[in-house]
């Protein structure tokens, strides 16, 4: 066991990594060195074992899918950072345009050039949140629609339709005066499983609309519609399906 070739050169030969001259030199050496011949045979045997016994382990099928998903996640979100500033302005402008268009169509689906929106989403949410503060919810606390409705009489220039929907799961708990967009409005207060739904009512000259798709902001949802000269907006932290259900009851 004193053949220097065995130590390393044999491995270069085995791996086909020797240059032609050194390979020829080693082959010449093999003719006379039994030790190297045996060692080479052993190494070849070991190699074929390593390659034939199925040691290579492929990635599990699901891993590729998982990785693709994480790559997608790493692509879409940071990609926005690359958007140059001017594009941001374009994006902002587009959003603004879309927002105002939706706002105006939200306000009136007709294309008439009527007056500006009577209130904003922020005002509705503010009014709703304000109403939840202690002592602010109702000016008249009554589950009786025949008490609430007359209460508004004389306080507003219009008479809001007031109905109790206790049987349907939306008991009326009262009403109050509120101000939206500088205009006095009636706020009808309904409860739904200990949650409060404010329904703002004000007169309008605009034509009827169906109940518009829901809006969502700061965890509050709202539905808006117009019916028989009245503008309605129901807002709450309950689910949209509940708001929609109440909106449909009022709409009828």
């Amino acid at each position: 066991m004193n053949c220097d070739f065995t130590r390393t050169v044999l491995h270069g030969y085995l791996d086909g990594e020797l240059d032609a001259t050194r390979a020829a030199e080693f082959e010449h050496h093999l003719e006379t060195c039994r030790e190297c011949t045996t060692a080479l045979g052993s190494e070849e045997s070991l190699r074929s074992s390593l390659q034939r016994t199925g040691l290579y382990e492929n990635a599990p099928v699901g891993l590729r899918t998982k990785i693709r998903a994480s790559l997608d996640a790493a692509t879409t979100s940071p990609a926005r950072i690359r958007i140059p500033a001017w594009r941001w302005f374009a994006v902002a402008a587009t959003i603004l345009v879309i927002a105002s268009v939706s706002w105006f169509s939200w306000q009136r689906p007709g294309k008439d050039n009527a007056s500006a929106a009577p209130f904003t989403v922020a005002e509705i949410i503010d009014a709703h949140v304000r109403s939840l503060q202690p002592g602010h919810l109702t000016d008249v606390a009554s589950t009786d629609q025949h008490t609430v409705k007359p209460w508004f009489d004389g306080k507003l220039a219009f008479v809001p339709p007031v109905k109790d929907f206790a049987d349907e799961g939306f008991p009326l708990i009262g009403g109050r005066l509120d101000v939206l967009g500088g205009q006095n409005v009636a706020a009808l207060v309904y409860s739904r499983r200990k949650h409060i739904i404010n329904v703002f009512v004000m007169p309008t000259k605009e034509p009827d609309t169906p109940i518009h798709p829901p809006g969502l902001r700061q965890g509050y949802q709202w539905r808006h519609w117009r019916r028989q000269g009245m503008e309605y907006c129901a807002v709450s932290d309950v689910s949209d399906s509940d708001i929609y259900e109440l909106a449909q009851l009022i709409y009828q």
């Binding site: 066991m1 060692a39 045997s45 070991l46 990785i67 790493a74 990609a79």
Partner: protein
């Protein structure tokens, strides 16, 4: 390809990068998984580490300027594996020592053929090797990497790849033909 993937800025990738990565790097997922599986000796851990390495490769993809995508990826996989081992199994890395190549009696090809024909036995023997020997064997014999590729993946000088392989093979032969203590006691 030289150096580690660390310390460079993290790139922000767009859809075009994503498509290039899919085409050039993702096809080498099996290679990435196989290397990490043998370095970590666990399929479950390798899934996590291979995924992490793939994501890291993606983040540094802008630093890949063509060439051997597999070697580039495997370099990152290897680094990720060692980081993982340092954190989770530091003892495994500490038991390593650079051993001189000791003359040993040649094991006959026949003996090796018999010992090596059993997959479990071969896998166990391979797993007893220190990671730095294991990785050159896996890269050479299972992945079919050239010395140049092995050098770039493992960050060892190309001139020492041959001797590293020589040592690794000698150790594997020994591990394969000398029964482990557990095996010896089982056979009693």
């Amino acid at each position: 390809m030289s150096g580690s993937d660390q310390g460079k800025g993290v790139d922000v990738l767009d859809a075009q990068d994503r498509a290039r990565f899919e085409q050039l790097v993702l096809p080498h997922l099996d290679a990435a998984f196989n290397l990490s599986r043998w370095l970590l000796k666990s399929r479950a851990d390798s899934e996590d580490v291979a995924q992490e390495a793939m994501l890291r490769a993606y983040r540094f993809f802008r630093g890949f300027h063509g060439g051997d995508a597999r070697a580039w990826l495997l370099q990152i996989v290897r680094n990720t594996c060692y980081t993982w081992l340092e954190k989770n199994r530091p003892v495994e890395l500490m038991t390593e020592f650079d051993e001189e190549l000791h003359p040993q009696p040649s094991v006959s090809p026949e003996t090796l053929a018999i010992a090596g024909s059993n997959r479990e036995r071969l896998a166990r023997a391979l797993e007893t090797l220190p990671p730095r020997f294991r990785e050159v064997l896996v890269l050479r014999e299972l992945e079919g990497c050239s010395y140049k590729e092995i050098a770039s993946i493992t960050a060892i000088p190309i001139g020492t790849v041959m001797s590293a392989l020589a040592r690794a093979r000698q150790r594997l032969q020994r591990a394969l033909t000398l029964p482990s203590p557990q095996e010896a006691s089982r056979e009693l």
